[in-house]
């Protein structure tokens, strides 16, 4: 860059390269992140043995406590209880064991039936948690996946800023989509998907960085606190640490404490943390459900486990912590009801579409009629096929594996995850045997078939198939299967569209403005 360029041109140039370098990972992050808006529903579908029950949070917690007192009373230092609600049917429990424990090892994470408090009998699966974790950890070991995802999000932020500067016709682009004009159409599609949902893209990218800000940017905490953990304690309203006394005192029933806390907090409880159970210094911290406020940093009330007295109440944070909490809430959308959740889902898909069309634009812009593609162009085109057409096939394989791997097979949860990556990898390699055009068509077609197969396999292998769920009162299963059919339709249309596309002569140079990609 030896000569000075107008801002719009330098931004157009950097926008193209940023988008290319992070585009494939960003596409995968958008797609799996969009699926994660339905994390509890995906988990419900992946454990068809569990039927939703209507048990109050207090009853579910009391049931879980009875079980935990039986198995872990002697050597657990902390219990985390995630209580069921309208979207999740089970109580999830994590035990933190004393480092001096001599009891035989057992799984730290338990799934309990809210009614009986006993472990549920259901197939092992990661459920929706897998897409959620992949979305920001990219299946890489800690902390590398999170750093890579953060870098991609940072690239996305820079791409949004440079993309906005590149544009001068934001309003006109709302209404501009010229079909079947080669490069011009891809540019229009890229602009429409980017501009229509611009506030969402900017919001979701910035708030995504904020979700892990304490890891990405710990330095401001270093100058104000002894360790970043002290800042975390304030930021997340973690109650004061109270050391165990070593004097035994029975833990009072927590059902009544939760009911009291719900009255104080003004909404149902969602999570309970019990520290030092059966010690005189035991505490019970009850967190409010996320559904009543955008702020995702949940307020809590802490009680003494031995006397039942209220010890402290979190809250009263200033504007900066509230801003951070609201940013977190806007990203994870735990406050959103069904309608807003679907809006989030559609906006997430426009994000995937924006990244996808941007990647296609990179190749379309550089292809010259009659000339053999240069190696970089071939590489980008093949990676585009592998990710845009291949990832959906892998995601379908994950869901299909949930129904096809035997229910009691050992290590089946890992098997489901392996199925996703092996199938995705197989599609990515197999497409090399076909021409790019055929590879696009067949990739989308395989995706369409795989998604259409999900409701069929579900109906064959469980009693909660689409005919039954539509007739009975089973909205999650009916909604899930119908969504799979909708995705299959969209992928089928994509395959049909590529198959019937007449190769248009690329636009050599647009009449106005610059080509930005």
């Amino acid at each position: 860059m030896t000569a000075a360029l107008p801002l719009r041109q330098s931004m157009a140039w950097i926008h193209g390269w940023l988008g290319l370098l992070a585009g494939w990972l960003l596409f995968a992050m958008f797609l799996t992140g969009t699926a994660s808006y339905f994390r509890p529903e995906i988990t419900q579908w992946m454990q068809p043995e569990i039927r939703a029950s209507t048990v109050s949070p207090a009853q579910a917690a009391q049931g879980a406590m009875t079980y935990l007192q039986r198995i872990g009373a002697g050597d657990d230092v902390q219990w985390f209880l995630y209580l069921p609600d309208a979207r999740s049917a089970v109580t999830r429990v994590f035990e933190q064991r004393s480092p001096t424990s001599t009891a035989p090892p057992r799984p730290a994470e338990l799934t309990l039936d809210p009614r009986s408090g006993e472990p549920v009998r259901a197939r092992e699966t990661r459920g929706g948690e897998h897409f959620y974790r992949f979305h920001f950890q990219l299946q890489l070991p800690y902390p590398w996946g999170r750093w890579l995802a953060g870098l991609c999000a940072m690239v996305m932020l820079a791409a949004i800023v440079s993309g906005v500067i590149t544009h001068k016709r934001i309003f006109a682009d709302f209404f501009t989509l010229r079909w079947n004009k080669g490069q011009r159409s891809w540019l229009d599609a890229h602009n429409v998907s980017a501009v229509l949902a611009l506030p969402y893209h900017a919001m979701i990218t910035y708030t995504g960085l904020i979700t892990l800000v304490a890891m990405y940017m710990p330095w401001p905490a270093m100058v104000n606190y002894k360790t970043p953990l002290d800042y975390g304690a304030v930021a997340f309203g973690i109650p004061t640490e109270r050391a165990a006394t070593g004097i035994a005192a029975p833990l009072l029933p927590i059902g009544p404490m939760i009911e009291k806390a719900e009255a104080v907090l003004g909404a149902p409880a969602t999570r309970v943390v019990v520290r030092h159970p059966n010690d005189r210094a035991a505490t019970v911290t009850v967190y409010r459900h996320a559904g009543v406020s955008i702020n995702a940093r949940l307020p809590s009330v802490t009680y003494s486990g031995s006397t039942g007295q209220m010890l402290e109440r979190s809250g009263g944070t200033g504007p900066a912590l509230m801003t951070a909490g609201v940013m977190l809430g806007l990203h994870v959308a735990s406050y959103a009801g069904t309608g807003l959740r679907w809006a989030y889902c559609l906006l997430g898909l426009t994000g995937a579409a924006m990244v996808g069309t941007g990647l296609l634009l990179w190749t379309t812009k550089r292809r010259r009629p009659g000339a053999a593609p240069f190696p970089g162009l071939t590489l980008v085109e093949r990676l585009n096929i592998a990710v845009i057409a291949g990832l959906p096939v892998g995601m379908a394989a994950y869901l299909l594996a949930n129904r096809l791997i035997p229910v009691d097979a050992a290590g089946r949860a890992d098997g489901e995850v392996a199925a996703m990556f092996w199938v995705w990898g197989a599609v990515a390699v197999a497409q090399l045997a076909r021409s790019p055009r055929r590879a696009w068509i067949e990739g989308f077609a395989i995706g369409a078939i795989a998604f259409a197969a999900i409701p069929v396999i579900n109906a064959v292998t469980t009693a909660r198939g689409l005919p039954a769920s539509l007739r009975g009162d089973d909205p999650v299963f009916a909604g899930f299967d119908l969504t799979m059919l909708a995705i299959a339709t969209v992928l089928g249309m994509a395959a049909w569209r590529v198959a019937h596309l007449r190769p248009a002569a690329p636009v050599r140079r647009p009449a106005r403005g610059v080509v930005h990609a």
């Binding site: 100058v223 800042y231 900066a320 951070a324």
Partner: protein, 112 residues
């Protein structure tokens, strides 16, 4: 701007041939990328830490404002690294700015 041929930044790719030819501009380009990627982060960290240290509000609040604004600083610094034509100015601005803020922070010390 009307109907002007697009000027591609001079990065070893000519407008007519898509083939990449390496030019002496490679070294400045690497310096630019490194400055944007690493220097941008260092500058964002420095600015965020300075905000956290100096903002006259509660320390949790000041810390949070620094963190929240840091990514904006990073994005702007990284983009400017590619916009500014003189690579020496980029290096001086990003790295020099980071060192200057770092010195101020060293003088201020941690919040008591």
């Amino acid at each position: 701007m009307q109907a002007t041929p697009q000027r591609t930044p001079d990065l070893g790719r000519t407008a007519t041939s898509p083939r990449r030819r390496l030019r002496p501009a490679v070294v400045p380009m690497i310096a630019r990328i490194g400055t944007a990627l690493v220097g941008g982060y260092v500058l964002a960290s420095a600015v965020a830490t300075l905000i956290a240290r100096l903002l006259p509000v509660d320390r949790a609040e000041a810390t949070s404002w620094g963190m929240i604004l840091s990514f904006l600083v990073y994005a702007i610094a990284a983009l400017w690294s590619f916009h500014e034509p003189r690579v020496m100015r980029v290096m001086l601005g990003i790295w020099g700015g980071s060192v200057a803020i770092g010195l101020v922070l060293a003088l201020l010390g941690v919040r008591s």
